[in-house]
Symmetry: C2
Subunit: 432 residues, 2 copies
């Protein structure tokens, strides 16, 4: 019986496939639109699995006017979103701009369970209240990138809380123990004798089940999600759905140009940072990453990216390219006025030959709401050791604020200000 149904489904899919391909053959405009969407989707991506199916899905979506369902999962652990987190979100935004529907799945069910063994600190159980607050914070941030109108937000508890043991066992029966142990982290732990709780095998399965519930056409994630997202494809096939395509976005390096962007490494650009800080931080990114940042941190179209690549190849000044990059990124999160002001500020604070690299700018965080003189950030940065030394520096004209010589020791600082001591040492002030 099941086999018969599978054959029928396959037959229907086969007809559908043939029809769409015939349509693509005789309709060059349709073909061009599909090619364009595929190019936008692929830009900057690490890997796309199920590309052929996705092409057909896009063609069908154009023909029927029915948007694709694009799924993206998040843990409600309330991060401050930075440009690294924003990489998949920007890709989602690009798909929204092409008319598709984004479904954000907030893993509240998983978060509330945490790790029942209490062994993993990363999986601390969260209360209903914590999940709610974090989900709110997260949504405020993602809607700086996504179009609220074309976004559906779901909590996976909506359907997972309803599953009973019988249904859980049906779900578990779709996968083998050996297949689960293929996942890299499970495999490594199993081989080296590090315990794997049986419940951990359910996290990929639950994520896969989310795809079935949503009838997802495409799931987006980091490369660390490969196993889980592919399990979604398998489970959808088992449930006789068309399997979702899987799009993996790479990790973005931070402003140091080497490590993955991360708050704890201090090499991050937060999407909520003020325009001046954002602009300055982008200017610190090494030249070698200009193209990657255009690809992953902006919504630049494939044709425009080709132009940037050409310019760089033609020997244009990387600093000019980077000014375009900084302007483009800052404008995504700030008004045109603030972006222009940030650029002006930057040009004044750092003259042409003195763009400092990451290693030379120290960030000093001060408590907001208090007024500070410029001695404080310099003391905190370890550059100045006494009031006498500071006054001597001022008298010698050795301290600048935002490119202007500081004349008096009690000169105040505000968030975003850049202090420069001597030729090479920069301190940027951040209030929070």
């Amino acid at each position: 019986m099941k086999e018969m149904r599978e054959k029928e489904t396959a037959a229907v899919a086969e007809t559908d496939k043939a029809q769409i391909e015939a349509e693509l053959g005789k309709n060059p405009e349709l073909a061009a639109r599909v090619r364009h969407q595929m190019r936008v989707i692929r830009q900057g991506a690490e890997e796309l699995i199920g590309a052929e199916e996705l092409e057909r899905k896009i063609a069908r979506s154009i023909l029927t006017g029915r948007p694709l369902i694009v799924k993206f999962g998040m843990d409600p652990s309330a991060p401050d979103i930075h440009l690294g987190h924003a990489v998949p979100l920007r890709k989602l935004r690009q798909m929204q701009d092409m008319g598709h529907t984004i479904v954000i799945v907030i893993g509240d069910f998983t978060a509330k369970i945490g790790d029942p063994t209490g062994k993993s600190k990363g999986r601390k159980a969260m209360t209903e209240q914590e999940v709610f607050v974090n989900a709110q914070t997260y949504q405020e941030q993602i809607f700086r990138i996504l179009d609220r109108e074309k976004t559906r937000v779901h909590f996976n508890g909506e359907w997972l809380e309803l599953l009973n043991l019988n249904e859980v066992l049906q779900l578990a029966s779709t996968v083998t123990v050996a297949r689960m142990l293929e996942r890299d982290d499970f495999q490594n732990r199993f081989r080296s004798g590090v315990p794997i709780g049986l419940h951990e095998f359910f996290y990929p399965l639950m994520q896969a089940y989310d795809s079935v519930e949503l009838g997802a056409d495409l799931e987006l994630g980091g490369t660390d999600q490969t196993f889980n997202i592919l399990m979604g494809r398998q489970l959808q096939r088992d449930k006789e759905q068309e399997p979702q395509a899987a799009l993996f976005m790479p990790l973005l390096e931070g402003t140091d140009g080497t490590e993955k962007m991360s708050k704890s490494l201090g090499n991050y650009i937060g999407i909520s940072e003020d325009a001046r800080t954002m602009f300055t931080k982008v200017m610190q990114v090494p030249d070698s990453l200009i193209v990657k940042y255009f690809e992953l941190a902006t919504d630049i179209l494939p044709e425009e990216l080709d132009k940037v690549k050409e310019d760089l190849a033609d020997g244009c000044n990387p600093r000019d390219c980077k000014l375009v990059l900084a302007r483009t990124i800052t404008a995504l999160y700030h008004s045109p006025e603030n972006t222009a002001e940030a650029e002006q500020f930057f040009r004044q604070a750092f003259t042409k030959k003195e763009v400092p690299d990451q290693a030379q700018i120290l960030e000093v965080v001060l408590e907001s709401g208090t007024l500070f003189d410029c001695i404080r950030p310099l003391v905190n940065a370890g550059i100045v050791e006494s009031g006498a030394q500071f006054r001597r520096l001022i008298a010698q004209g050795g301290v600048q604020k935002n490119g202007v010589r500081v004349e008096r020791p009690e000169e105040p600082v505000k968030s975003g200000d850049v202090l420069r001591v001597g030729k090479r040492r920069f301190v940027q002030v951040k209030m929070c």
Copy 2:
């Protein structure tokens, strides 16, 4: 917090332990009763795990008058119960006779799920109706052994159907993947690349959960249940219950004396068979198994068993011992009159020197409700090939029925009759 509670529980258990041991020290009658119960429980058993705890539980049960909860699980696959199946049931009966409560857990939940992959034929899903009918059939049979008044029957669906995903994950988190793969059959399949469905890992867990639900003090099972029953101990500990003791009964060989008793091997003694058949079949058991049959197939007391062993060591005739055995077993399932009649029948059908062994008695099954002459079973057994040959045999006095010479070819047979042809060939008739 959890750790604190564990310490407290351990402390309470420790006090309880000290109290009971003090009581046992100063109360020799209590100690003797505990020793007796332990001896009865241990008789014939393959292994007892948690013996020390069990001793304390028994002592506490005697002191408080609160019976132990003894758990026994069954699959509702409706077997005709034979003396092999009866081994654990008899042990349960002995525990009832010492005042304890037996809980039969019918695995309806598992039976109704079957194997969702459909790959295992042994795990075919059963309907509600099938489970119900089989459970009825099973209960009719077990109450030929157990005391209905001291038996509780539960279906594990009562509690398993109520579990939701959250609770399932809590349950799964109590065990590691590596621990599951220690179970022999899983290990062998994993090593040889035979797929293990993830749902299969739940069968031991569900059985363990049953023990928690019941607060079982002791679980009984075959040695093939070792892993699952020990998992019950672990889960009870996790849930801060006193872990159940685990009693494993060996498999009983059939009347051929070599293979495990089984209907398909034809070496079985069904508990619903008539007294004559039962008595005769027991008499066919090889001498080497007399003690084992006394141990596992009767409710003989340890002291009486010692006597049997002594008699056999003192060179008493095994046939006499076996007559006692056949009488004892038959009387467990039949009235004293029928048992006496069966013995008389046996003594008449098989004279002293002619007790046939298993290989010499052929069982021929005829349809009940029809009248048959004695030629039919002999033809079916392949001993007689024609009416002429049969009449010749009769005329020569070469055919006996139940030890009496058959005079005419149309002599009728009924169930239990034993026909003998020549010196060595026996055919026993069974109608069903």
